[in-house]
Point group: C2
Chain length 140, copies 2
DNA sequence: TAAATTATTGCGACAAATTTGCAAATATAT
DNA sequence: ATATATTTGCAAATTTGTCGCAATAATTTA
């Protein structure tokens, strides 16, 4: 149960784990990245739109969630703290988003390349586009 | 001059290189990624907002431009076809976006990792966040 | 534990960003 | 040059995200 972890992060920041925040966290937990619209509709009878925006903004500020960008839109998922560092494989055909677990060698190389140009890397996001196993199979 | 290249891509898709499209292309050419607002304001006395949105959408669909995501916002830049493949270094302090030229070893590793999980990679986006040389220096 | 203090939520109104339908203008093909 | 198809501007509608403020819930203090 990650609620303790969640609570700790909030407390450390002078915020509390309210019913609302637990609810939104639970909507995200274990799910694929979700759009605001979906999040709002899934919680709409219980929570106000503004509250959801404010909560997601807070969560993002505290590193609890982060945005996955898809074209002009974005979706929300729990951050690496809760899911482990990973990247995304976007299927251009069916739209599914798969996780690609982090690879130490890759992470190192990315940091090294950035450092080489005198940049101080803190974190990064890698999104890969192509065909998922199922669509790849189907489309040949 | 990349207008020929641009024209070719458009023609191949049953679209033509109009004055409007050339103008928008030129607004992007050689510039850092730009927000819609900036693009709109830079062209506003000559072009309608809706036209700009439609053109960017077309350009993106044809792979002429792509979006660089910055938090909830995004900016537009010409795609790899016109600029060469590269990644971005985002300075968390001053907001500047620097280019990191593509590295063959890195690209290979990314494709390999994706292929290993039976995904067929077509392209990818890597965004690195941290401190640019200037801010790194300053904030010692 | 009750009172006081501070943080959080809902609500309604706003503001900004993006989209759409349609008629007029422009480009391409005949 | 004319006909046909595409593109653009305009105005209006939607969608998305934000804000102020009063009501509610949580936390702290006595």
């Amino acid at each position: 149960m990650q609620h303790n972890n969640l609570k700790a992060i909030l407390r450390k920041n002078g915020s509390s784990l309210t019913r609302t925040r637990r609810l939104i966290f639970d909507l995200l937990d274990g799910q694929d990245p979700q759009s605001m619209q979906v999040l709002i509709s899934r919680a709409d009878d219980q929570l106000d739109r503004a509250t959801i925006y404010r909560t997601i903004e807070l969560f993002e500020r505290l590193g609890i969630v982060h945005r996955v960008n898809i074209g002009w839109k974005y979706k929300i998922e729990l951050s690496d703290v809760f899911t482990g560092h990973h990247h995304h494989l976007h299927c251009s055909k069916c739209g599914k988003i798969l996780d690609l677990p982090s690879n130490p060698m890759l992470e190192t190389m990315i940091d090294t390349l950035a450092t080489k140009v005198d940049f101080a890397p803190r974190n990064h996001v890698l999104e890969i586009y192509g065909l998922c196993p199922a669509c790849k199979q189907a489309g040949s």
